[in-house]
């Protein structure tokens, strides 16, 4: 039976490893276009697609549409 400390360390190592592997695989797939053209474009232009609200994106984009 694993102690709580060992289980915690194992979970941290697994999480960090999974994230590292995820970043490596997602980057490779994204740059080759396997995740679609939008992700490829985002990686090339370093676009951040994580904004949750309009105040987190570039304000210059938010010009009104002319009537």
């Amino acid at each position: 039976m694993m102690t709580k400390w060992k289980r915690s360390l194992l979970a941290i190592a697994l999480f960090a490893g999974t994230i590292w592997l995820g970043i490596t695989l997602l980057e490779s797939a994204g740059r080759r276009g396997l995740a679609g053209n939008v992700v490829q474009n985002n990686l090339e232009r370093q676009t951040d697609a994580t904004a949750l609200f309009y105040t987190e994106i570039d304000r210059d984009i938010l010009r009104p549409l002319k009537d």
Binding site: N41, N42, T47, A49
Partner: protein
């Protein structure tokens, strides 16, 4: 007297006071920046040494502010003080993963990672007892929402033109109500879950889901599931909607409007719009912004509907006093912040100064959202989530609702931007 006392004895009112202190500190210039993590590609750049002290100051400041509330509310300030730093560190890890350049390109931000880290800790290790007093989900979530209120500026709605308003405001309420009806009457889902998914799909993704969940006092596993589904489908829609727009043969303006009206989160909207060019990007971002501004009206409507119609009243039809007692007060804080910024501060300080201040308040808001998602993850377990997914009905609600949203928005976009109703807009 009891009502006056509730101003300091209820968590809802405390979230209003904390939010007010945070906003006042920024708009008076006492706080001019909130530490965040910048995008990084190699681990050595992930947390620059000069950010560590500001992060520690933020930890202590938030701990003091929220600790006072915890002390007054349930007297458990010492246990909270012991647990909060660990919660904050886990939140920083969520930000760290979400700000990685690759994760940012895929739209996998801190909200997702805070949930995942919380779920990993609670389900693989088991949330330790000493950490539990720090998991003040309601306090974090509602404070974040009060601060978010300052970002909803009424004046912006009037300057955006009739095109965006017709697309965003014409479709959004119809999709919201139709999805709620479908979730309740056809799929027999709990009303709180149906309204969270409907709000996320029709308004603006995760932030709308949080606002709706707070307004109807939803269960945490309901919010976890709704946010998880929204985040996954947002990435898929960011990838496929531009391709679909090209396949249909929409011009960039119509494609942008369609994307802005349907893709849930703002970041994904901007990325999908950018892929189709500057006109599509501008149209998509403006439409999404107008949808974002509906969040306060939606939260107020949901809160009022819930206390009046959904939650059972002991005396049948609730009286005005009872409605007031049960109404979630943080919604008033949200709307109050929005009013004060829109009506007092924009004319007083000018739009540019307010925009600068909002850059800072939105960082405060992100931290509180991050801490709340982490706490939700720490309180959720996979078995409860599995039960929620029973017979795939939540997924069906999202898929049917989003399909309806995509088709209805396409029709309205065509009516508005093809010259049938108005002249075609210029750029």
């Amino acid at each position: 007297m009891a009502r006056l006392k509730s101003l300091v004895t209820t968590e809802d009112w405390w979230t209003v006071w904390i939010g007010a202190v945070l906003l006042a500190s920024v708009f008076t210039g006492i706080v001019d920046s909130v530490p965040t993590l910048s995008r990084w590609s190699s681990l050595s750049d992930s947390i620059p040494a000069e950010r560590i002290l500001p992060l520690l100051i933020l930890l202590v400041s938030v701990l003091i502010l929220t600790g006072i509330a915890v002390r007054v509310l349930d007297g458990n300030a010492l246990a909270y003080t012991k647990a909060f730093p660990a919660i904050f560190v886990l939140g920083t890890v969520a930000f760290l993963v979400g700000t990685n350049q690759v994760m940012a390109a895929y739209g996998l931000g801190y909200a997702l990672w805070a949930l995942v880290i919380g779920l990993v800790v609670s389900n693989l290790i088991g949330t330790p007892d000493w950490l539990k007093p720090g998991m003040r989900t309601e306090l974090f979530i509602k404070t974040g929402l009060v601060v978010l209120g300052a970002e909803v500026i009424f004046g912006k709605m009037l300057t955006l033109g009739r095109y965006g308003i017709v697309v965003a405001w014409g479709v959004t309420p119809i999709v919201l109500l139709a999805m709620f009806w479908f979730g309740r009457r056809v799929l027999r889902l709990p009303p709180s879950f149906a309204i969270i998914v409907a709000a996320a799909t029709s308004v603006c993704g995760v932030s709308a889901a949080i606002a709706a969940a707070g307004a109807c006092r939803a269960r945490k596993d309901e919010l976890t599931l709704a946010v998880g589904m929204t985040l996954i489908f947002t990435v898929l829609m960011m990838v496929f909607m531009p391709l679909l727009a090209q396949w249909i043969g929409l011009d960039p303006v119509m494609a942008g409007a369609w994307i802005g009206g349907t893709v849930d989160s703002t970041g994904a909207v901007a990325a999908a719009g950018e892929f189709l060019g500057p006109e599509a990007l501008q149209t998509a971002a403006v439409i999404k912004m107008i949808q974002n501004l509906l969040i306060g009206i939606m939260a107020f409507g949901v809160a009022l509907y819930w206390v009046a119609r959904v939650e059972p009243s002991s005396t049948g039809r609730p009286r005005l006093g009872e409605l007031w007692t049960r109404f979630p007060k943080f919604v008033l804080g949200f709307i109050g912040a929005s009013f004060v910024v829109s009506i007092v501060l924009v004319p007083l300080l000018g739009g540019d100064r307010v925009d600068e201040a909002i850059d800072t308040t939105s960082d405060f808001r992100s931290w509180f959202f991050c801490l709340s998602f982490l706490s939700i993850g720490l309180e959720s377990d996979f078995r409860a989530l599995g039960r929620q997914m029973a017979r795939g009905r939540p997924l069906l609600l999202y898929l049917v609702g989003q399909t309806f949203n995509v088709l209805l928005t396409l029709l309205v976009v065509w009516l508005v931007f093809s010259g049938v109703l108005f002249e075609v807009p210029e750029f």
